[in-house]
């Protein structure tokens, strides 16, 4: 295992974690989860409902399959 590969793997995991950091951090903490954090999560979930914006991007459209590389 090369150092660069390890760093890339960690960076990939961190990128995902960063998107959800406030919510996950609050969820696993022993403290109280604030009204603001709850509202942020509720808004994220609302975007996933039918008519929401979560699936509106071009990346969600069916893509032609390129020839094998």
């Amino acid at each position: 295992m090369e150092a660069a590969a390890i760093i890339a793997a960690i960076e990939a995991a961190i990128t995902i974690a960063e998107k959800l950091a406030p919510i996950i951090q609050a969820a696993v903490s022993k403290g109280e989860i604030s009204v603001e954090v709850q509202a942020a999560l509720d808004a994220r979930v609302a975007a996933l409902r039918p008519g929401g914006t979560a699936f509106a991007g071009a990346e969600w459209k069916q893509q032609p399959t390129p020839p094998a590389v």
Partner: protein, 134 residues
């Protein structure tokens, strides 16, 4: 390298799953979840599942010409089905919120399992193709 990200990813997934049953922390009861930790944990799983699945779909969109056909096919299948998976999970989540019985909780957990399976598949392809090869 692959094992490392797999471990990190599964820790992420399992952590999300555990949050539906968690005793960590408390909810401010004046928040939108009104103190219901099961609902909060469920929404954490749903939201975090979307983030990882979206990461894969976006990666496949940006790199489709350099990916094997099976990866592009998997991305297209996920694109087609993911909105319904999330819609179903949210509908069952709402049903549980209205009527928090063990049966409704079980149905909700089954829907979350579908999302977890999609997360695992997405993570598998990300691990195999996103990271530099040695």
């Amino acid at each position: 390298m692959k094992k490392l990200l797999s471990i990190l990813t599964f820790a992420f997934i399992i952590g999300g799953g555990a949050l539906t049953q968690t005793s960590c922390g408390t909810l401010d009861k004046s928040g939108v979840y009104a103190g219901d930790k099961t609902l909060y944990g469920t929404d954490v799983v749903i939201s975090s599942s979307y983030e990882l699945i979206h990461s894969f779909v976006l990666f496949a969109y940006q790199n489709s010409e350099n990916l094997p056909p099976e990866v592009n096919a998997a991305a297209n299948r996920i694109r087609a089905q993911a909105p319904q998976w999330f819609s179903t999970a949210l509908a069952l989540r709402d049903a549980y919120k209205l009527n928090p019985t063990s049966e409704n909780n079980s149905r909700m957990q089954q829907a979350l399992d579908v999302l977890r399976a999609a997360v695992a598949e997405s993570a598998k392809y990300l691990v195999a193709h996103q990271l530099p090869t040695t």
